[in-house]
Amino acid sequence: MARITLNDVRKSYAGNQVIHGITTQIADGEFVVIVGPSGCGKSTLLRMVAGLEAISAGTVEIGGKVVNDLEPRQRDIAMVFQNYALYPHMSVRENMAYGLKIARLPKAEIEARVAKAATMLELQPYLDRKPRALSGGQRQRVAMGRALVREPAALLLDEPLSNLDAKLRVQMRLQIKEMHLRTGQTTLYVTHDQVEAMTLADRLIVMNKGVAEQIATPLEVYERPASEFVAGFIGSPAMNIVPVQAAKGHVTLPGGVELRLPAAPRTGALRLGLRPEHLRAAEPGEPAIPVLLRSVERLGADAFGYGMIEGSDEPLVLRLPGTSGLGRGDRVEVVPDPAHLHFFDPQDGRRIGD
């Protein structure tokens, strides 16, 4: 177990910077998820911590020791790869024991650790099988087991669930969470899936184009997204972002609707973020946003209405009750929850106010 400290970590390929200085501390036993769209540099960052990718500038510390120039094996880390990367000619047992064998642990100790991990991951019946005789989910568990038996200072996972089907992914997500609670292992987890990110993380690093847009707890990221990018990335369906003109005490929406919103942090052009789940149906006579629905997706418990603000081309997504009888062409009036308003700067997309 150990703390990981990233200090202005940068990466460039041939003068082209892809990671633009990331600084954060991961506490002992913390579960941190790096999340972002593909190509945002999240895997590169993880691989720099693992030692598989050279660090162009800045330092990475694991357990208080700068590891920039250390080989992966000297960093006391274990890693789970997206494609599992199991050794195809070795049995499950040999796969899990390989790292321990190289570390010259006593045979009895190796066996004990493999047995323990196999029990935890329900892999005992498969210990003598080759990876090719296993299902995707079993392979994934072997990859987890191979990392866990090492009892590393830090556990690194690179999109470990992305090759599983949806149902298995949910199961494994729960299992990973439980395993973390049990082992208290410092964990760095990369994913592009916001559900995995929200459910697993103690803390999130939301990345975009090589920059950490926000580093905070999942709830904080949801409630106070630091930028328009984060706001659009976390939450499903994504937050509505509407260009507005703010004046004293009220804002003007596209289509000329005026809303009394005393919370606007400044006047002039702004971008207003409204989550679909924070728009409620208007009481009769209340000033509201009129929306013309184009389509409604029914998911059972909920339904999502996709429409446009009346009198404009501005799209707006609403969350409706699952039993709602609304459909294409209907007109609804909604009111934003004043406690959940987000304002962003139209130039740089940063959050304004609190």
Binding site: L52, P72, N83, P88, R146
Partner: protein, 287 residues
Amino acid sequence: MAEPSPLAARGAGRLVAHFWMILGVIVVAFPVYYVFVASTHSVQTILRPPLPLLPGPEAAANYGQAFEGGVRRIGGVSLWRLLANTTVVALGIALGKIAISMASAYAIVFFRFPLRMACFWLIFITLMLPVEVRIQPTYKVMVDLGLIDTYPGLILPLIASATATLLFRQFFMTIPDELLEAARVDGAGPWRFFKDILWPLSLTNVAAIFVIQFIYGWTQYLWPLLVTNSNEMNTIVIALKKMISFADADTPWNLVMVTSVLAILPPILVVVLMQRWFVKGLVETEK
């Protein structure tokens, strides 16, 4: 049994297919069979046409005679010695090629060093320089090193192999990067990665290359002819050549045929014994 292939011919098409196949087998196999038949008849029978199509009664006598000095009388060296020489040379070439080409392919694929691609292309262009092309300088080098009439002299010039290096390179490039990275994280250095992961995964390829190169080594003619003066160092192919170019005596054809059979046999055995591995290595990549 395997399912019938969707291309399986029916009726007349099937007959035609079989006709050509059997014809092909006869064209390829009949001369070999005839050599075997000839090795079981006496010289007189062989020289009096037509040669019988079935094996004769002299098999034991011919083979016994060949091993007990018959070949030594005409070629100056025992059949045992010839077989031993050829085995050493063929094994040396096959194993040497595998060792060198695997090592160089490993370096080229998995390591980043200055002039890596230059090295690769240097190896590549040796494809255009087989022994026959560079025979004079190679001979000179062997003379200077005092390797005439030695096993190293027979083996070394034939070992450097661009073909095998390229084959191994192609195979190594299909190994997923993540496998190498997983091994690095597990603490394996370059040597352990090679020994524990790359070598076991390469076994079928090694087998295929071994078969090809063993036969290549076994059937070498020009280079052994040049680099050996003493009969004691002859390979079996050279000895055969010497046996039939005797002008002053009647050629003992029965013994020549026995020697031919014994020259053919080991490559066949290698192919038959390693056939499954061989085919696997050529068609399948197990990952």
